[in-house]
Amino acid sequence: MIPAAFEYVRPTTVDEAVQAVAEGGEDVKVMAGGQSLIPVMRLRLAAPSTVVDLGRVAEMRGVRDEGDVLVIGAMTTHAEVIADPLVAQHARLIAEATETVADRQTRRRGTFGGALAHADPAGDLPAVALALDAEMVVAGPGGRRTVPARDFFVDYLTTTLDEGEVLVEIRVPKLAGQWGVRYEKFNRVAQAWSIVAVAAAVRRENGSIAEARIGLTNMGPTPLRASATEAALAGAGASPDAIAAAARSAAEGTSPSSDLNAQADYREHLAQVLTRRAVTAAAGL
């Protein structure tokens, strides 16, 4: 469990970080909290020649209010996200999902941006970012660009981050109106990854569901939106039957994998049950 030898760089600004990545050659790896990278390096499943550690880049840490948008620094740890008053007020779904991530030690070191850039489909935060229509601010040698969450996740452990780019911060639109949220996670033991999880945000208006946003964790190589269920819920009555009917299409368009914890058909079933539960709770029923 000893990693192969590697060079180690610890920049203190975003510019330095981008430069360090550019100078790190082909096998450079960017490290945020290291909670996924270090284990695979210890198992020698990854052996980067250079590790660029973002741990000292102060400007990438913290949460700020920019009017309609909450901006979360990529290096903000899970523990900081959970404790942040702005997140609690404007993006409670993120806090609720983050509380379920791994264990206390991991939440102390692991970061919001690291979890998104790692893009593990079993990770909890990508589906939440997708459900909230978050935007990723990315810095590279050519400057900064902003990528919507729906375009950010490309494949299994793969994002649109180009070589040399670093995820700097995440812009999360505040939910305006009467929103309820719920992260419904299904796993076998407390610290395990989700077998399936559902992130739901529901806006109610006059006894009906005006809008629902549903993100699915681990139902394919990337996080997914349960689009068919969202469509069925738009304008539907806020009743258990209507929600149950809509949730039946939660697995449409998904392509879950089979593994020791669940085969694909069981995951599809879980997506429906958990969507029903998440939406029901988010709708306040």
Binding site: I2, V30, V40, A74, L157, D162, V189, L260, Q263
Partner: protein, 828 residues
């Protein structure tokens, strides 16, 4: 010297009894904070580091091992293959040939011609640093001619099966039979089944488990001329010393084995490990200290596993539920080789399948089967959990068949309190207990009637969350073991235990025990025993253990034997100390020995108030040795060895209330209550801790843990991501209680508690889950009860089946490092 006065003031007049006191464990501060020497902390001058190149294939002939690149690597001192060590490595010993014709294929510490499981050593690297040793592993190239792996026991014993070892002619190591009719302990089993009104037959699977101790295995060997000292994270320094001497030819008196503080074992460190042999051979060859510490991945893959039985169980009864016979046919997975007690584990269980019930007839047959997997061996309970699972599950199945309440069926058949001692159909003499009393207390603890009422309500309303209640009314055999009985079972050693007590001049006491702890709390419990026995303060007692130079005789720790056998040896040594001190006291007090009373650590002369001499004062007197009787030696130190005449038989009733979410298959323990009778309780805190830990492991077998191999023989559950060990967050509150029926076989009256929770809980949990969903047509669910298995059993029938061997989380980690995905620049 004024020590005499000090000692006198230190000794209370009549000390409070220590036995029964919930003392905090005196060893815990250093164990928990790590302020102690674990084996891997050892650093010796000139020490080299060993790493092991392991087979990636489950079965194959080695055609070439190329070590040239590894030899060139920085820091590498030597690279050795099986051929280099073939002449001196001998075979890992198997101490338990359970039948006269058992086939032992031999177990090289490092493969020479062929490999028989993934993870088997094929080369070792010796380097100047641990990093260098690790780096060079991937530089060794090994070529294999692949052979088909044997992985499934039922296929392995079928016709045309591939062979695990081609130099033996089948995959069967042995066929062990215990037949009560033939042994004269019961009636004819076939006749009993022929005459029975009802026969229920089931196939149960006791899955393969991994002991998963907290401290990885670690060994350091220091050569000193012709002598060698080995430090090892082992449960069995004494047994290891004997075995290493036999395997390597190093004379026993030139070999010292030390088990320093050891971080858990659960049977997983009851072994002579290939790496221990290799480290010793290499230290001898190079003349330098050598250290090896395994990684967690190595530990899960290559340290021995446990359980892994397929059980075909038949039970016969009349219509009223009086059991008539029990017939067990077992396939027990040995893995690729026979390690220390691999074959003996199922044989030890053979006598426990009848449980607490009065079966008139009983037959047990077991085939030990070779497969291309890591060997199995002792794991917490070793044979008894398998037996308890089978009998407690089949009793529930019979109850369903008869339409009887499962507790009523048990009550009808269990041994009644007034029938102890009771000789069972397996020929064991159960010592003491009261199954009814324990059961009644457990029912009260869990609130049984309310739970049954809630279960009824949930059933009637068709609640998606159903409730079930499961029982396990178990017993187990502890206090391993009467040496003559072990002999009759062909075990290679005895079951006695040794102790010494050294009375130091200042009145302090050193207790040397042969029972080597690895987390159980021996130092505290032994101190309590000695404090009571000798009347000295608890704090004045130091317990020494684990070093064959300090504690020369011992049989170590396993099988819930330490207090029952090792503790008794301590008590007997203390009795001898008192007897020796009595002679000195009589001399110094100028009284007749027969006129002395010993109480509260003091000798007094009957009828002469005011005269007293403490045992601590006598210790100083014999140290000075100025004035002692002519006919005795100037010492009151004493040794004792205790060999029990019988096992002890803890028992208890465990009740689990389980919620099953039929929408998702998720099972959640709602309440768990158990009442255990472990005889006299020396330290209630330690007993409670042992029960809690045992429950966690037994529940883990039912719900979480399973060693899964893929079709090529790779361990799929090779990390803790996939081999799920539960934490406190996943377990319920435990309501525990005790009844106390003193064990008649030892002066302490203790029965043993190390394995009780682990043995009893597994069937209670599974029975509870089945009770929740049986009305939905579910008959069995394979362990562990993953949500998917439960969901499939409820909605699709069957027992939930095998778990998918297709792409797993572990393999997902693989692809994280695979080319093509690693260049995406993700902020990991």
């Amino acid at each position: 010297m004024t020590v005499t006065e000090d000692a006198a003031t230190l000794t209370p007049q009549s000390p409070e009894k220590e036995v029964g006191k919930a003392r905090r464990r005196k060893e815990d501060a250093r164990l928990i904070t790590g302020r102690t020497t674990w084996t891997d902390n050892m650093v010796l001058p000139g020490m080299l580091h060993m790493s092991v190149v392991r087979s990636h294939v489950a079965h194959g002939k080695i055609t070439n091992v190329d070590v040239s690149a590894a030899l060139e690597a920085p820091g590498v001192v030597a690279v050795l293959t099986g051929r280099d060590l073939a002449d001196e490595q001998g075979s890992i010993p198997c101490a338990w040939p359970v039948t006269a014709d058992m086939v032992n294929p031999g177990h090289p510490s490092i493969a020479v011609e062929e490999v028989n499981h993934v993870g088997e050593a094929v080369a070792v690297i010796i380097a100047r640093s641990r990093d260098a040793a690790a780096d060079a592993i991937e530089l060794v190239d090994v070529d294999y001619d692949l052979l088909p792996p044997v992985l499934d026991m039922e296929q392995a014993v079928g016709g045309e099966a591939d062979l695990c070892h081609d130099h033996i002619d089948s995959n069967t190591a042995y066929h062990f039979v215990f037949d009560a009719g033939e042994a004269g302990t019961g009636a004819d089993t076939e006749q009993a089944f022929a005459d029975a009104d009802v026969v229920v037959s089931r196939r149960f699977v006791n899955q393969r488990l991994i002991p998963a101790f907290m401290e990885p295995r670690s060994v350091v060997v220091q050569p000193q001329g012709e002598n060698f000292t080995m430090w090892s994270a082992t449960q069995i320094p004494h047994v290891l010393r004997v075995m290493l001497a036999m395997v390597t030819g190093i004379p026993e008196h030139k070999l010292r084995v030390v088990a320093p503080d050891v971080g858990g074992g659960f049977g997983g460190k009851l072994q002579v490990n290939p790496e221990e042999v290799l480290a010793l051979l290499i230290a001898r060859r190079l003349g330098k200290p050598v250290k090896w510490t395994e990684t967690r991945s190595e530990s899960l893959m290559t340290a021995h596993h446990g359980r892994d039985q397929i059980q075909y169980i038949d039970i016969a009864s009349d219509r009223e539920g009086n059991v008539k016979g029990l017939r067990c046919r077992i396939l027990a997975d040995m893995g690729a080789y026979l390690r220390l007690i691999t074959p003996g584990v199922p044989a030890l269980g053979a006598f426990m399948f009848p449980g607490i019930y009065k079966f008139p007839a009983y037959r047990f047959e077991c085939d030990g089967i070779f497969t291309n997997k890591v060997p199995t061996d002792a794991y917490r309970g070793a044979g008894r959990p398998e037996a308890t699972f089978a009998v407690e599950r089949i009793m529930d199945e019979l109850a369903v068949e008869l339409g009887m309440d499962p507790l009523e069926l048990r009550r009808r058949n269990w041994i009644r309190a007034e029938e102890f001692p009771f000789t069972t159909v397996a020929g064991l003499e159960y010592d003491s207990g009261d199954y009814d009393a324990a059961t009644q207390q457990a029912l009260d603890l869990i609130g049984y009637d309310e739970l049954r009422e809630e279960q009824r309500r949930r059933r009637e309303s068709g609640d998606p969350v159903q409730l079930g209640i499961g029982f396990s009314t178990f017993t187990e055999m502890c206090g391993l073991a009467p040496s003559r009985v072990l002999g009759s079972l062909s075990y290679g050693a005895g079951g006695w235990e040794a102790a010494s007590i050294r009375m130091l001049p200042t009145g302090k006491v050193e207790v040397v025990t042969g029972s080597t702890p690895h987390g159980q709390g021996h130092e505290t419990a032994w101190s309590q025993l000695v404090a009571d026995q000798l009347g000295v303060p608890f704090e004045d007692v130091e317990v020494l253990h684990g070093d064959t130079a300090v504690s020369p005789r011992g049989m170590d720790t396993y099988g819930s034997r330490s207090l029952v056998v090792g503790g008794t040896a301590v008590v007997k040594a203390a009795d001898k100390v008192i007897a020796k001190a009595r002679k000195v006291a009589a001399h110094l007090l100028e009284a007749n020995e027969d006129d002395l009373d010993f109480s509260g650590g003091k000798f007094t002369v009957r009828g002469t108030p005011g005269t007293a001499l403490s045992i601590q004062e006598i210790a100083l007197a014999v140290f000075a040795a100025h004035d002692y009787p002519e006919d005795v030696e100037p010492s009151i130190d004493a040794d004792a060895t205790f060999d029990p005449v019988n096992f002890s038989f803890p028992h208890g009733t465990h009740i689990c209330a389980m919620e099953v979410d039929t929408d998702t298959g998720f099972v959640k323990i709602r309440k768990y209550a158990c009442v255990d009778d472990v005889g006299t309780i020396v330290n209630p805190l330690i007993v409670e801790g042992q029960v809690h830990g045992g429950l966690a492991q037994g529940i883990a077998q039912a719900l979480y843990e399973e060693a899964v191999y893929d079709a090529d023989g790779n361990l799929t559950t090779g990390t803790f991501v996939d081999y799920l060990v539960p934490s406190a967050a996943d377990l319920p509150h435990f309501d525990t209680g005790n009844t106390v029926h003193v064990a008649p076989g030892n002066p302490i009256g203790a029965k043993g508690v190390g394995e009780a929770g682990c043995i009893a809980s597994t069937p209670a949990v599974v029975n509870a889950a089945l009770d929740a969903v049986r009305h939905l047509g579910v008959q069995d669910i394979r362990m562990p009860l993953t949500p998917e298995r439960v969901w499939r059993a409820v909605h699709q029938g069957g027992d939930g089946g095998d778990r998918a061997a297709a792409p797993t989380n572990a393999q997902a980690v693989d692809s994280a490092g695979a080319p093509g995905t690693s260049s995406q620049g993700g902020d990991l």
